[in-house]
């Protein structure tokens, strides 16, 4: 076995382990399958660019990747193109309209075709009604199970801020979830 194939296998194992987790965060954070896929791809590119143990992650690769995907999602949500897509601006042209249609098709498949599809769709839609910061905090703390310290590192803010945002986000969710998710 060559070192290349060793590394390839290592990289494949690495991806199989953590990409679904990053994808879940990105989907709930951004609310769209296509954007979530972009976010994970960008995170993987940055991981490869930095390389484990050099400028990138050292012992805690997962923490590094979560922090990275949080940043990437923030960057994506600030892009003018994303804002145009989110507002359904038809001026973005045929190519983007086609892209949007494909994203919608995949999203419907992702959300509804399987056992928990309806629950997933309702979760994502409920989360989208929170502010971006509340969504980050609730996703990291409640859905992904990170500690306050880990979430504060990922969000690059004080631990008290994480606690407050989580509390506010959960309070807001409880106003809208009874008939949507728990029902």
């Amino acid at each position: 076995m060559t070192p290349q194939s060793d590394t390839s296998n290592a990289a494949a194992a690495l991806l199989a382990e953590f990409t679904p987790r990053l994808y879940r965060y990105a989907l709930v954070r951004l609310g769209r399958v296509d954007l979530a896929e972009d976010a994970v791809s960008e995170t993987l590119c940055r991981l490869i660019e930095k390389g484990p143990g050099v400028d990138g992650p050292r012992s805690h690769v997962h923490g590094w990747c979560v922090r990275c995907v949080v940043n990437v999602c923030r960057e994506i949500s600030r892009r003018p193109r994303t804002q145009a897509l989110n507002t359904g601006d038809d001026a973005c042209g045929t190519q983007q309209a086609s892209y949007r249609m494909e994203a919608y098709r995949i999203e419907r498949w992702q959300m509804a075709a399987t056992e928990h599809g309806q629950q997933r769709a309702e979760l994502v839609h409920a989360m989208l009604r929170l502010s971006e910061r509340q969504r980050e905090a609730v996703t990291l703390r409640v859905l992904m199970g990170l500690s306050v310290a880990e979430a504060s590192q990922a969000m690059q803010c004080a631990q008290g801020t994480v606690k407050a945002l989580t509390h506010q986000g959960l309070h807001a969710l409880r106003q809208q979830l009874p008939e949507e998710v728990a029902g």
Partner: protein, 153 residues
Amino acid sequence: MNDAFEQLDSMREAFDSIEPAPHQQERWQTDVVRVVDVMLAREVKEQMDGSDPVPWRTMWISAAAAVLALSTLLVNPLSQDGLRERLAEARSALPTFDFLQHAEDDTAVGSDVAMNDGPPAPELVTHSESLAQSLDALFANLSNWQDVLLMMH
């Protein structure tokens, strides 16, 4: 209060059931593995040219170490049996030490790496021994998986 907990459980259940589309997961795997291959090939070539003194083997070892860290840190929650199994997988994914015994790579080209029998570079031996010792220590301390996770940090 019970309703609130049930809501959170439902949310977590819905969240955990989210998976990337299979074709997308496959694309990530293929693309990243291809990129890693290209990077390795480039590093080998640069070493051959003498234009870059960075040891490409370090990257390879780091990738294996990253798999080990991920294997142990990403599974949540992780039972003791699960950890033991994953550590065994991680250990078996590190055949790198054999290679390091033959790690004079001046004649390496692309994916066809010729291995001479010269001594490995001292820093690589130290690195590999350190990794091996860490793994052995992990295996020896599996009585409490939380301790093992702390060691990984």
